[in-house]
């Protein structure tokens, strides 16, 4: 008997719905890449799996249940597939650059300036305006490229790499070919920053790790910075655009933000909770164990549905409702556990800066087409509209 397919979001039918309900009973599903896995969809279960890297390994890769190019049995390349102390060692080289409270205070003015320039360009443009490409992606690309010191002439390298890596149908050969130009560029950048450090993240990583017991290798530096560049703009841009569709389409929510742009901070948490990680994350059991009473055997794959878990009534009794003034709780929209999103603090800052600035400077913002006419990305793990035509006058 064949297994039911892993439920996936269907934004073109139900724009904001999770792939399925949060249920405490585990089911066996067939994933798009052919893997069979246990599907965990309730908040407690998702948190338990992601929070226990000892029982549930990240070695197969975070999205190898969706992405054709990734082989869950291959030797891990890169920190996102490491477990335990090896992974923590790498994470601690990221953290001072992107998740240290004092460092974030330094980044705020840069993000505000890039956002303000983008809004000024937007307001000088004809309507309807292509918000996703000309605003959301422009802002998030400029932020991460500026932080790592990638000049505008090279921005296409991260765009091409992200397009290839997040597309479910990309083959392993196609992915290698798409990543190569970015990797070649980053190896050159590592060499030049080692010789002549600047104030960018790559230079700071080199300088800080030099005093470590095991300084970062060139390959590790390239892996880490490629991850920041690739994951750092497309996910955040998609959340800005997708989040704005939800805000503008839910009666009263945009008006609340316009009336009080300070709500951008809780609104950011709420949008990430409501819309994040619809295609789920993959883990593999390291030992015979149980989740929610279900026996899991060592070697079994487990897919956790983050978005369904975030809509669980166990998290909020009215978890199905989008409420931007909700007191932020412990949602899992940035994941949970040791592999929780590396860039989550920068992403938060970009999202709340953009939301507050748009609500202040473009209070009459509206979607310029019926929501039913929005074209949605399909063969990807980074969900949201392909494009969003907007108007304001």
């Amino acid at each position: 008997m064949s297994l039911p397919a892993l439920p996936l979001p269907r934004e073109w039918e139900l724009p904001f719905d999770p792939p399925g309900p949060a249920g405490s009973r585990l089911v066996r599903v067939a994933c798009p890449t052919g893997l069979s896995a246990w599907l965990v969809s309730d908040y407690a279960g998702v948190r338990e799996v992601l929070g226990d890297g000892r029982r549930f390994s990240a070695r197969p890769g975070q999205a190898s249940h969706m992405l054709t190019a990734f082989d869950p049995d291959s030797e891990p390349e890169g920190f996102t597939r490491l477990d335990g102390p090896e992974h923590v060692r790498i994470r601690r080289n990221f953290a001072p650059q992107v998740s240290h409270a004092r460092r974030l205070t330094e980044l705020k003015p840069l993000i505000e300036e890039i956002t303000d320039r983008a809004i000024t360009r937007m307001l000088a443009s004809p309507e309807p305006f292509a918000l996703h490409s000309a605003f959301s992606t422009a802002v998030t690309t400029e932020v991460i490229a500026e932080l790592i010191g990638v000049p505008a002439a090279q921005h296409h390298l991260l765009r091409d790499a992200a397009q290839a890596i997040f597309t479910t149908t990309t083959t392993a050969d196609e992915l290698r070919a798409a990543l190569e130009p970015l990797f070649v560029y980053l190896y050159q950048a590592v060499a030049s920053r080692r010789a002549e450090p600047g104030d960018d993240i790559l230079s700071r990583m080199i300088l800080l790790s030099a005093s470590n017991e095991r300084p970062l290798t060139d390959a590790e530096l390239v892996d880490m910075n490629a991850a920041l560049l690739i994951a750092g703009f497309d996910t955040t841009a998609s959340m800005i655009t997708y989040g704005l569709v939800a805000l503008l389409n839910t009666p009263g929510e945009w008006d609340r933000l316009v009336a009080d742009p300070g709500l951008a901070v809780p609104a950011t948490e709420e949008l990430v909770r409501y819309l994040g990680v619809g295609t789920g994350l993959l883990r593999r059991a390291t030992e015979d164990t149980t989740i929610g009473g279900q026996a899991i055997l060592a070697g079994d794959y487990v897919v956790v549905s983050v978005q369904s878990g975030n809509r669980d009534a166990a998290l909020y009794p009215d978890a199905e409702v989008l409420n931007i003034a909700r007191k932020p709780g412990s949602h899992i929209g940035f994941g949970h556990g040791a592999h929780a999103c590396v860039g989550q603090q920068v992403a938060r800052m970009e999202l709340n800066t953009v939301l507050a600035a748009l609500a202040t400077r473009v209070p009459t913002l509206r979607i310029a087409v019926p929501v039913g006419d929005i074209e949605w990305k399909r063969d990807t793990v980074v969900r949201g509209p392909v494009e969003l035509p907007v108007a304001w006058s």
Binding site: R92, A101, F334, A338, A340, Q345
Partner: protein
């Protein structure tokens, strides 16, 4: 209330230092949590509890006493 942290497993995500800066700081070199106050005043309990709940690596423990 008594707070303890497991620095060996900390990933430096920064949530605790952003939520309860009077209780948690971070090392400059690796952003690992620094516990500023092991027995914070009772009025900081909501913030400390939020830091516990939102620590992705679950390295903060809050005990009575």
């Amino acid at each position: 209330m008594r707070v303890t942290v497991d620095r060996d497993r900390c990933i430096g995500a920064g949530n605790c230092a952003l939520i309860a800066p009077a209780v948690f700081d971070q090392e400059p070199d690796d952003a690992v949590v620094v516990l500023l106050d092991e027995t914070p005043p009772e009025d900081s309990r909501p913030a400390v509890q939020e830091a516990v709940d939102r620590c992705p690596a679950a390295v903060i423990v809050l005990a009575a006493g």
